[in-house]
Amino acid sequence: MFSHLVLGLRSAGLPASITEYLTLMGAMRAGVAEYSVEDFYYLARATLVKDERHLDKFDRVFGACFKGLELPEGVKVQDLPEEWLRKLAEKMLTPEEMAKIQALGGFEALMKRLQELLDEQKSRHQGGSKWIGTAGTSPFGAYGANPEGVRIGQDKSRNRTAVKVWDKREYRDLDDTVELGTRGMKLALRRLRRFARQGAATELDLPDTILATAKNAGSLDLKMVPERHNTVKVLMLFDIGGSMDDHVKLTEELFSAVRSEFKHLEYYYFHNCPYERVWKNNRRRHEEVIPTWQVLRTYGPDYKLIIVGDGAMSPYEITMAGGSVEHWNEEAGSLWIERLKGHYRRAAWLNPTPKQSWGHVRSITMLNDLMEGRMFPLTVNGIDEMTRELSR
């Protein structure tokens, strides 16, 4: 019955399955949603969506599938609390205006006109429960019943139409292609965790103790193991200054996320393209430079390398010796990238610019080729992909 909804969801990339569809049908049969479209929407959402990142997509698909299936909501004027209108008018209108209303035939006539207008609107627009005050010909505008005031048919809590609920698209910022924040990043980075037992043996190893005791013919033989720790090691190189200024906030967020996530984290800065020197303190970048060779020597190949930069530069900065905009580099940037890549088997490049635009910038394409396609956008999704690649 609602299979087109499920198919629509699947083609939009939501992992809805037959099991869930059957659950939905079961719930419908059990009368959970009864006969309200809004309840059906909530029920379908609770059944078919299992991750808040997909809620927005669901809203969109739901809206598309059930377009035109809105409630016959149009509100009869009789339903309007007349007193409420009267009160409102008394509050908003000056005595002269009140007199004008009387001249038009009083409230009763006005109400009749309102009903006509509503009917007219119902046939023209769907729902017919929009703002009435905005209709240019309506006497309501003329008599100043507050242009933002009389909202007919949509008492906020009671009569909210079903369409409204999903059309609001409240979950938009939970969509994982746009949402960014340290928390999202931390979660994505968490995949890099590698647990291993290291250090002093402090925990009782129960299975081994039992085994050893059994071998010992029943006299107790305690076995200990070291505690599990996250042992992943990460080396990060941040592009800083120049075109990266546009991405400061994003990079800061990433930085704070990795800082709290990894115990073994080392970071250095570079400008545009990594060359023979990097630095740790950007304010004193010219005094305290560290040779890249030293970095390579200090941090072994068991580190995972993440380079963060927008990669927007002149192609010469990558390919030519002396191409750097800041200093004279003896060796080309591409050579240094090859070296880094050769040393660190697990390396990736995070790019804060949107992926769609990469093809338009020559240097990004070159870097991506140099990284053998391991360039990822700096979004939660991109970090997720990167961690998958790095922990492979």
Partner: protein, 281 residues
């Protein structure tokens, strides 16, 4: 059908009501996610209350294993008893310690089971519970005993999203994401918790609260539970509403901000904003 509805103490939106009722009717677990402090855990208490069932809480830690929810075999006790020559040692059943799910399955009437913060546990944890939550039965290997639920309990699972849950697990659940309440709902929530709070104080406090949430760059935005704590403090201290009022543009650090801002960097950020605002005027 006696369903779950907003109570005087717990304001549930309509979508939450539908999700809870669907889970109860179809006897499937309900997975609840949402910002920390939006009432995920409290929900289970309220559902138990509304349905008139006892609540069994199982709080998950990073070291919790799925097996612990079913039963544990206390090998160390048995070993000790064996070495001391205790008679109990002959019956292995003496060393089987029941877990929370066993308790729930063995209960004579339907109960509500809360599995709190499932994402804290190991990544395999939900997978290990798949069959048990689906069929509501499990096998005790040591005693060759089959434990089958007398009545299927209502299972409510909360998650803070620290780990992704496996698809197979999700497929068996209903899902609800508790959205951060808008101002109107928040007023209701405040009203339901502190019915005798002064109107003007509540209004000013909410103003400040939503203002703080708007501040860009906060590490931890204050949520409902923080607001309620803060209001309680304000009421205890009996502060006048004027103390909260800030002049148009001026940002002031709210009194007793310790209840709202839980991070020294956030407090620092606020102090800086306040300083800038003062200098600007």
């Amino acid at each position: 059908m006696a369903g779950f509805k907003s109570t005087e103490r717990y304001i549930a939106s309509r979508d939450l009501e539908v999700a809870v009722n669907a889970a109860v009717t179809l006897q499937r677990p309900l997975l609840v996610k949402g910002e920390p402090g939006t009432g995920k855990t409290v929900l289970a208490h309220e559902v138990a209350e509304a349905l008139g069932m006892p609540l069994i809480e199982w709080h998950i830690k990073s070291t919790t294993k799925a097996q612990q929810g079913l039963y544990e075999y206390d090998a160390v006790s048995r070993l000790r008893d064996g070495q001391l020559g205790d008679e109990r040692v002959r019956d292995i059943g003496n060393y089987i310690v029941r877990g929370k799910l066993w308790d729930a399955f063995a209960a004579d009437r339907q109960v509500v089971v809360l599995i709190d913060e499932i994402d804290k546990a190991d990544i395999e944890f939900p997978n290990d519970l798949l069959l048990e939550l689906d069929r509501m039965r499990f096998f005790v290997y040591e005693t060759r005993e089959n434990v089958v639920a007398k009545t299927r309990p209502v299972v409510i699972i909360t998650s803070n999203n620290e780990k992704e849950l496996p698809d197979a697990f999700l497929r068996r659940c209903f899902f609800h994401y508790i959205r951060f309440p808008d101002r109107e709902t928040m007023e209701k929530i405040v009203q339901s918790h502190y019915p005798d709070i002064r109107k003007d104080l509540a209004r000013e406090a909410l103003n400040v609260f939503f203002q703080i949430r708007e501040v860009p760059g906060l590490k931890k935005k204050p949520a409902t539970s923080e607001l309620l704590d803060w209001l309680k403090l304000l009421m205890v201290e009996d502060l006048p509403p004027d103390a909260l009022r800030s002049n148009e543009k001026q940002v002031v650090i709210p009194p007793l901000h310790g209840a709202l801002l839980k991070n020294e960097q956030d407090v620092h950020l606020f102090e800086r904003l306040a300083f800038l605002a003062r200098r600007g005027t």
